[in-house]
């Protein structure tokens, strides 16, 4: 697990495409043992799927890297883009972009390359929380960010006519995976689909190529991480203490695990984007970004998704607080886990609320980034 932390940091700090690629590959292999941790048949199956998808993505990325190097003789990221418009023909540019986009799209769980993520939920819950809600998938999204702003430049992507397809793929992912989440009864899988949809919020934000869009996307990277880890930790607590996996078994769990369920509820309304949680702030900036890009329609996509988010998360909260307890947990007195498991959840949930009111701390960094990116 510690190794993976180093690798993820490596991805974040890599300054050229090759280093980036190396760490990116490491991440695949580093997280594989965690996916199959339980060593059951399903987990091996899921591990295989994960590996296959990732390697497929990696192959595409390698192809892209070679093409970029062949065209420009450098792989160092720079804010104006490695590939300049005068160096390559648009067709080649388009192909390189698509190869990269789908390569990175595997980890970012962009439709139709998302299906490894729900399967990988067989991993232990903390693993799901850290890697499949944050580290792995966020490196995919981060890679797409690098791709759009550092390998290519926003102008180039626009002239290639690829902004619209990216926006559409992201919107499609948002809506479809939210719909899948609504019908998913296994709670971890439901959260996995939710992750897929939220990741595409971020891709969408980047693809607007407008200041507020990038701000929203970067903010949402932080905010979604906080909220989703909170949700996964809460679910982990519930699974550990009761062994319940299905949404409709969770009736009355809030009466036995009040703190866990309260944090879960807070994170849920954060993900829906209700003020004053941090989810609202990123939704605000994303919507502004959409308008700056001259597109009203993506606000509606965000709104539909928010409604669907409410439809798949709030019933869990409602069940847990207001339904009669199921027989399994009726006679237990207190199911709340030990303090070590509660404190992180409380801190994370508190942080989400705090960032809803004072988002200026991450915002300072983000504004600098945006300044650098869009000046050029």
């Amino acid at each position: 697990m510690l190794a993976c932390l180093g690798i993820t940091m490596g991805i974040a700090f890599a300054s050229n495409l090759f280093t980036f690629y190396v760490f990116y590959e490491f991440l695949t292999f580093g997280t594989y043992p965690l996916v199959i941790h339980k060593q059951t048949e399903t987990s091996f199956e899921a591990g295989k799927k994960y590996l296959f998808y990732s390697l497929f993505g990696a192959a595409l990325i390698l192809l892209g890297i070679i093409a970029v190097f062949w065209n420009s003789n450098t792989l160092v990221f720079n804010p104006g883009g490695i590939l300049k418009q005068n160096l390559i023909s648009l067709t080649v540019g388009r192909m390189i972009f698509l190869v990269f986009f789908f390569g990175f799209g595997v980890k970012a769980a962009v439709f139709p390359l998302h299906s490894w993520l729900p399967s990988a939920m067989t991993a232990p819950t903390p693993v799901s929380a850290l890697f499949h809600a944050v580290a792995v998938v966020k490196s995919g999204v981060f890679a797409i960010f690098r791709l759009m702003y550092f390998v290519f430049s926003p102008e180039l992507v626009k002239t290639m006519g690829l902004q619209l397809p990216v926006l559409w793929i992201a919107s499609l992912t948002i809506i479809l995976s939210s719909l899948f989440a609504v019908y998913q009864q296994n709670i971890k899988k439901r959260l996995a689909y939710s992750t897929i949809s939220q990741l595409s919020y971020i891709v969408l934000g980047f693809a607007f190529f407008s200041p507020d869009g990038i701000k929203g996307a970067l903010l949402h990277m932080i905010n979604h991480a906080l909220l989703k880890i909170t949700l996964f930790f809460c679910v982990g607590n519930i699974i550990l203490r009761t062994g319940l996996n299905e949404v409709n078994e969770l009736n009355g769990i809030g009466k036995k695990m009040p703190i866990t369920a309260t944090c879960f509820t807070l994170a849920s309304i954060g993900l829906v984007g209700v003020p004053p949680t941090n989810g609202f702030v990123s939704k605000w900036f994303l919507s502004m970004g959409s308008l700056e890009a001259g597109e009203t329609v993506y606000i509606i996509v965000l709104m539909i998704s928010a409604l669907l988010t409410a439809a798949y998360l709030l019933p869990i909260c409602i069940r847990s607080f207001f339904f009669q307890e199921s027989d399994k947990i009726k006679h237990q007195k207190n199911l709340e886990p030990s303090a070590k498991m509660l404190v992180p959840v409380i801190i994370l949930a508190g942080l989400s609320l705090y960032l809803g009111f004072y988002y200026s701390i991450p915002m300072v960094l983000i504004e600098k980034t945006v300044e650098i990116l869009l000046k050029l």
């Binding site: 209700v274 502004m288 308008l291 606000i299 409604l307 339904f323 809803g356 004072y358």
Partner: protein, 486 residues
């Protein structure tokens, strides 16, 4: 400085007390804790009273905290917000006091009282908000937190009704979110004062913003055809909720429409574009439909719910006629309806508690056993019908004059028809309660406990005072109407 302190404490104190109540309230709770619950509400009530002379001297309270939340928390109190603030604090204080007896012995009271306080902040915050985003924040609190009050008893059909409310509210808030973002994008400001200036300069926001605002607010206000959550939610929720919701929460939606008409858009423009007419028609339908549905309703709480829908139509009508006297009627009706309907719901709660039944056919002879409750019920019902000298008459008088000022006698007729229907569904209840001799021995009950009775009587007193005297409320309403139409 003093006013900043006063208005901030109204909003912030309940939020501080709510978690304390949540963690310390027990089933057999001490006297001190009940005082603690009442404290922020009482302070809020006093603060509003102190603000009265300040606002009457035409001083506005406006300030903002820039350091939190996107675009800051901005507070702006004018005459209209103070009227909302006054009814909100009064009703909340009395209803909470009423709840001490009504809810006694029920489960989850810590949750009930703490979220009651939080939703107070939401409602009063909408009234005092000075920019769109602050208003949106409090609007969310005012619509989502009451969900916990509706679902209180946790029975399956309660949950169904409450979920309907929840999802409708979420849709409403998304519609509002769209409008708020879009408005900010186009005008680069969210402050009501600046938006009003822009509107005066002739800057027109697109129709989609207007429609989406109306959809959001109308859902909350229970206007046709978005009223469908209302008759379901009221009967299943505890009676104090009905009182607060009819009295205040749905008016929060109406208050948003006031802001929309007069501070985000220019009202002349709304008239020219024909939106005034469209909304008048919607108001007319809401009035008639609400009253008609109430006519053959047997469940008292449902009856009151339909009656509330029709009364919201009155206020929307007064607003969309866009002239001085109609607007005065609408603003004053905020006050008279909230007091009268608040009382009616509290009486319904008293009846429910004593007889366990809300069927209006079972209330024959009830006046002999619960004379004070039923007398207050009668007075409030008369105010709803619009009988002088009660405050409902004052609002209806100005609304009627407004209809004629706008040369729309049709709407006057609708008002009168609706009054007639009000009489048809309210009066049999009181007549049966007092003037039947046959079943008076059926009940072996007596009057409700003191706290409930006190709240009911005080609110009725307010209804009478508002009609008999030229109260500060009327003066404020007059200034408010005049200022909105500048």
């Amino acid at each position: 400085m003093q006013t900043i302190f006063l208005s901030t404490s109204i909003i912030v104190l309940p939020l501080i007390i709510a978690p304390i109540v949540y963690f310390s309230y027990q089933k057999k709770s001490s006297f001190l804790l009940k005082i603690l619950i009442l404290c922020p509400l009482a302070i809020a009530f006093l603060n509003v009273l102190i603000l009265f002379p300040i606002i009457l001297r035409h001083k506005l309270v406006a300030f903002r905290f820039d350091f939190i939340f996107p675009h800051g928390i901005s507070i702006y109190i004018n005459e209209l917000s103070l009227i909302m603030g006054f009814i909100t604090t009064t009703l909340w204080l009395l209803v909470t006091f009423y709840s001490f007896d009504y809810m006694a012995g029920k489960n989850n009271l810590n949750r009930y009282y703490s979220f009651l306080l939080v939703s107070f902040t939401g409602c009063v915050g909408v009234a005092f908000a000075g920019n769109l985003l602050t208003q949106f924040l409090f609007f969310e609190i005012a619509s989502l937190v009451p969900y916990i009050l509706i679902i209180h008893d946790g029975k399956p059909h309660t949950i169904t009704a409450a979920n309907k409310y929840l999802y409708m509210c979420l849709m409403a808030s998304l519609a509002l979110f769209f409008s708020v973002v879009y408005t900010y994008f186009l005008t680069d400001t969210l402050e009501f004062a600046e938006l009003k200036n822009l509107a005066k300069q002739g800057i027109v926001l697109p129709t989609s913003i207007f429609v989406s605002f109306i959809l959001g607010y109308a859902t909350k206000a229970g206007l046709f055809p978005l009223h469908i959550w209302l008759p379901d939610a009221y009967p299943v929720a505890p009676s104090p909720f009905g009182s607060l919701s009819s009295g205040i929460m749905i008016k929060v939606g109406i208050f948003g429409i006031f802001k929309l008409f007069f501070e985000i858009y220019d009202f002349n423009l709304i008239n020219q574009l024909g939106w005034g007419t469209v909304l008048q028609v919607i108001a007319g339908i809401t009035i008639l439909l609400g009253s008609a549905m109430a006519l053959n309703e047997k469940n008292l709480k449902k009856l009151l719910a339909y009656s509330s829908i029709s009364q919201m139509g009155y206020i929307l009508l007064g607003t969309s006629l866009l002239n001085n006297r109609a607007l005065l009627g609408a603003v004053f009706h905020l006050f008279s309806h909230s007091f009268a309907k608040g009382t009616l719901f509290l009486c319904a709660g008293a009846i429910k508690q004593k007889t366990g039944n809300l069927n209006i056919d079972n209330m024959k002879g009830l006046g002999y056993k619960m004379p004070i409750t039923m007398a207050c019920f009668t007075i409030s019902a008369l105010s709803m019908i619009g009988i002088p000298p009660l405050s409902g008459f004052v609002s209806k008088w100005y609304l009627g004059l407004g209809c004629l000022d706008a040369s729309m006698p049709l709407y006057l007729i609708i008002l009168l028809v609706s009054s007639l229907m009000n009489a048809i569904y309210f009066l049999p209840i009181t007549i049966n309660a007092f003037f039947t001799s046959e079943t008076q021995k059926k009940f072996t009950i007596n009057e409700v406990p003191f706290k409930m009775l006190f709240s009911i009587v005080s609110l009725t007193f307010g209804t009478i005072l508002g009609g008999v005297f030229r109260t500060p409320i009327l003066i404020l309403a007059k200034t408010a109407a005049k200022k909105l139409l500048i």
